[in-house]
């Protein structure tokens, strides 16, 4: 038997996503320099991300644009463009890119965003609570959307998405009378996963709760990007 060839161990201690994080930092700097607040909107399919933006854009009191990262169709982009804001569509590609946006995709889309003409840039991430949570895309704030039509224990099942969020939106509360949804249990799981997370329970259909959400965005604009 021949002995294995001699080998050497080289310590690297490098972050796997270092390249992504470098691009994300550049995006954040570019937005900060332009006085633009970049908000990443995360949530599972059907949580109500597009509807939240449709309700938010006309009431924002600020100039906005959207980068939409949905799959296959441009339906979300069309709905958002109807709000009269610039919309850039990211068509995620087939190989490892279809489940999340990474910093490179957003940086590329950023070239088509009129940064000097806006105050807030929303990125509607791909409908998924697992993969997008891993990637810094250069956001100043990340909002995770879930609806009362989903399970109360969602935060416990997808802890990273909720740990890395700066706010949570609990959408579709107008449906509560028709569901056996335990709001107290949801609040409890949100608290367990991220005790200090601000939560906005709202309905874009009735308008309930929208005010507090809009005030939160206004506060982010005041406190975050200063070049």
């Amino acid at each position: 038997m021949t002995p294995p060839p001699p080998s050497e161990r080289i310590r690297l201690v490098t972050s796997v996503l270092e390249a992504n994080d470098r691009i994300a930092a550049r995006t954040r700097e570019a937005c900060t320099a332009a006085g633009v607040l970049l908000v990443d909107v995360l949530g599972g399919p059907g949580a109500g991300k597009t509807a939240l933006l449709e309700a938010t854009l006309p009431r924002l009191g600020a100039r906005a644009a959207v980068i939409a990262g949905d799959l296959e169709t441009s339906r979300d982009a069309e709905r958002l463009a109807a709000c009269g804001v610039p919309v850039v569509q990211i068509t995620t590609n087939s190989f490892g890119g279809a489940c999340h946006l990474d910093a490179g995709m957003v940086a590329q889309a950023l070239d088509q965003v009129p940064l000097t003409a806006i105050d807030v840039l929303f990125v509607e991430n791909v409908g998924n609570l697992v993969c997008p949570a891993e990637f810094d895309i250069g956001q100043h704030a990340r909002v995770v959307v879930l609806s009362v039509a989903e399970g109360e224990d969602k935060p416990l099942k997808y802890p990273l998405a909720f740990r890395r969020a700066d706010a949570a939106v609990v959408a579709k509360i107008d449906l509560l009378p028709h569901l056996e949804f335990d709001l107290a249990r949801l609040r409890e799981s949100l608290h367990a996963v991220h005790p200090s997370l601000p939560c906005f329970e709202l309905s874009v259909r009735s308008g309930a709760g929208l005010e507090a959400w809009l005030l939160w965005i206004a506060a982010q604009r005041r406190h975050r990007p200063t070049p």
Partner: protein, 115 residues
């Protein structure tokens, strides 16, 4: 399936280390530390790594994944503990003011190369 992106990021990062002269010789093994807080499935990553490595200097290398438990320290009672479930409250006194001290890693620890 963002594990493919993670697998390719591992390959890219090591290729960059080779280009920078930090790694010389044929890469035989890659050691990765993955915190349990990360949304990365070691099983998927193990499956996808050879595909990501194909046609690169890392082709044929082995991937070792060291899983790291989620650890916390309570800022109120100073207790230290391992979190088995995503409830970020002190198991001792119930306080929400805890610092997560481990479990968020996604790091290339080392590579083993032929001499």
């Amino acid at each position: 399936m963002h594990e493919m992106t993670v697998a390719r990021s591992v390959v890219d990062a090591i290729e960059a280390a080779i280009a920078a002269g930090r790694v010389a010789g044929r890469v035989r093994r890659v050691v990765l530390r993955v915190g349990r807080l990360r949304a990365v499935a070691p099983k998927s990553l193990r499956f996808l790594f050879p595909l990501a490595a194909e046609g690169t200097p890392l082709a044929g290398s082995a991937l070792d994944i060291v899983e790291v438990a989620v650890r916390g320290r309570c800022e109120r009672c100073a207790g230290e503990f391992v979190l088995e479930a995503p409830r970020f409250l002190c198991p001792g006194c119930g306080a929400a003011e805890i610092a997560v001290t481990a479990g968020d890693e996604l790091t290339i620890e080392s590579v083993e190369v032929d001499r």
